[in-house]
């Protein structure tokens, strides 16, 4: 346990020393909020079912942050550690190499929380952000979404032959997913065909769930999303365990 804390402390420092990680997890989502918030304002709109644009966007941007840490930072770091034989070097010590993976999950989870905190603070100060949900329900939805997206990231980390391949796969998964899952742009403005396509992205279910419970929806109304996210989590964790290579 002590070891895991130690690894996580150092790995978190390393994470914050990389400008790209800070930018995409902290700065970029807040920038989106400031940009779209100042364009559309935070007034009730029939388009969002009577909700404010910002109040609906913030849970979407939470999905955006989860996608950055889970689909970019996590798999790219792990793939790089494998390619550069860092994992192998750790394997020649008494630690359980799985601890390295767990520590990556932990530090990326913390980074996600920081991104969300910043988003909420900015939302509150600049746009008078509202929260209509139940804190426990939203926390559950957030953890489930994170777990499911991170498990997809671990599969990417596990199957990609090298860091280049991981980068390619991450970009291919990440970019369509953030634009077409409702994380950045609301599903309400999407043409029908895109709505169908969006169903293949795990994040679509995550943002739908997050937006729903954030604006006061009941968990039970989102059981299909919950089932999909749970299934993805289980399948991807199994796949990651099965296909993960240390070298």
């Amino acid at each position: 346990m002590n070891r895991l804390v130690n690894i996580s402390k150092i790995e978190f420092k390393l994470l914050t020393r990389n400008f790209m990680n800070i930018f995409f997890a902290l700065v970029f989502p807040s920038m989106m909020l400031l940009l779209f918030g100042s364009i559309y304002g935070n007034e009730p709109s029939a388009f969002y079912g009577g909700h404010n644009m910002v109040d609906v966007s913030v849970p979407g941007y939470i999905g955006l942050i989860v996608a950055v840490t889970g689909l970019m930072t996590l798999p790219l770091t792990v793939a790089q550690y494998r390619e550069r034989k860092i994992l192998k070097r750790f394997a020649a010590t008494p630690i359980n190499p799985v601890d390295i993976l767990i520590s990556q999950v932990i530090v990326n989870f913390i980074m996600t929380l920081l991104g969300i905190a910043l988003l909420i603070v900015i939302g509150k100060i600049v746009f008078d952000l509202h929260f209509f949900g139940n804190l426990f329900v939203v926390t559950f939805a957030f953890i489930l979404t994170t777990f499911s997206i991170f498990s997809v990231g671990l599969v990417i980390a596990g199957v990609s032959a090298n860091a280049k391949a991981a980068t390619a796969i991450s970009y291919i998964v990440y970019f369509p997913m953030i634009f077409l899952s409702g994380a950045i742009m609301p599903m309400e403005i999407m043409p029908k065909i895109i709505v169908y396509i969006s169903k293949v992205f795990p994040l679509t279910y995550g943002t739908e769930l997050l937006k729903g419970v954030w604006t006061g929806g009941k968990l039970s109304s989102y059981s299909p999303d919950i089932i999909v996210l749970l299934t993805i989590s289980i399948i991807c964790t199994l796949l990651a365990t099965k296909f993960f290579r240390w070298e």
């Binding site: 690894i7 150092i10 034989k85 860092i86």
Partner: protein, 304 residues
């Protein structure tokens, strides 16, 4: 006492036997070197011994432990430097050291090692900014944090400049003086000659020589060359009055005498002196480990 015992070790990749039924022992306190061309199986052998690779056949015993089963106990007793390991981006020297320290139950304090290896001023530097030699020093420091009985060094000096290489040699000698056993692989014959008590040469996964450097050179059958110049024609003398000469060549005034016997030089000089034959530019070329290595590698190619 043997601290490493390898019996009939075989590691198969697809259809190729990367390591093919090799057996050897490493004694406590010795520096044991493994030499071989690229792809001979040196790294694979090391990685099987230290439990990083599973093997198909054979028995490996390291300080009484099975590397595949007693992982935790083993990594408390051995230290490793792997070939081409790099470190995390933007990690500082003291961070990687304290990280490794936290992996072990009874670590050797890294500050002492940093002092000893002269990296004190680099504690707060990023590992990326270290020179090649400093990075290798760091690799050794990390290998020594467990305070190991055996240190494994895989191509420690590859790519280092001559000064850094000399430094590394000094440190490896010191490891031995501290009573540790060293198992190393290298491409450099002079390194093996200087450091290793015993070496084993492998080719295509098989051991083709295993002994002290001196014995391997002697048993290779390579001859010492005695080169000199003489005005007089002495072919008759060389053919008839000198023993243990396997052959000689003459090119104008220049003679080369070939022999496996070390005493020939003295006898030759004695003969030239007593017969009052003037000679100059006397030179002797003993077979080196380089010559021996190339001969052994070539021979095995021809056989195959």
């Amino acid at each position: 006492m043997n601290v490493i015992e390898v019996t009939q070790l075989t590691k198969i990749y697809g259809k190729i036997n990367a390591v093919d039924q090799i057996s050897f022992n490493v004694k406590k306190g010795e520096i044991f070197g493994m030499l071989g061309p690229n792809g001979a199986g040196k790294t694979t052998t090391i990685e099987c011994i230290i439990g990083l690779k599973k093997y198909e056949q054979g028995i490996v015993n390291v300080v009484g432990l099975n590397p595949l089963k007693d992982r935790n106990a083993l990594y408390g007793k051995i230290g490793v430097q792997l070939q081409e390991t790099s470190f995390q981006d933007k990690i500082k020297v003291k961070e990687i050291c304290s990280l490794f320290e936290s992996f072990y139950k009874n670590p050797y304090p890294y500050e002492k090692l940093i002092d000893k290896f002269g990296l004190k001023e680099k504690l707060n530097s990023y590992v990326d900014n270290l020179s090649g030699g400093q990075k290798q020093k760091l690799s050794i420091i990390l290998a020594l944090i467990p305070n190991p009985e055996i240190v494994f060094l895989d191509e420690l000096t590859t790519g280092l400049d001559p000064q850094a290489r000399q430094d590394m040699w000094k440190y490896v000698k010191e490891l031995k003086e501290e009573g540790r056993t060293v198992f190393m692989t290298t491409h450099y014959m002079e390194e093996a000659e200087y450091l290793c008590d015993r070496i084993c040469i492998i080719k295509k996964g098989k051991i083709i020589a295993l002994d002290t450097v001196e014995n391997i050179i002697i048993s290779s059958g390579l001859e010492t060359e005695i080169i000199f110049e003489a005005e007089q024609d002495i072919t008759n003398l060389l053919s008839n009055e000198l023993e243990h000469v396997s052959k000689f060549t003459r090119d104008d005034h220049k003679y080369i005498v070939y022999s496996q016997n070390d005493g020939v030089l003295g006898k030759l000089v004695y003969m030239l002196e007593t017969k009052k034959i003037s000679y100059k530019n006397l030179n002797i070329k003993r077979p080196t480990l380089d010559d021996t290595f190339l001969k052994l590698i070539d021979e095995k190619v021809e056989e195959a």
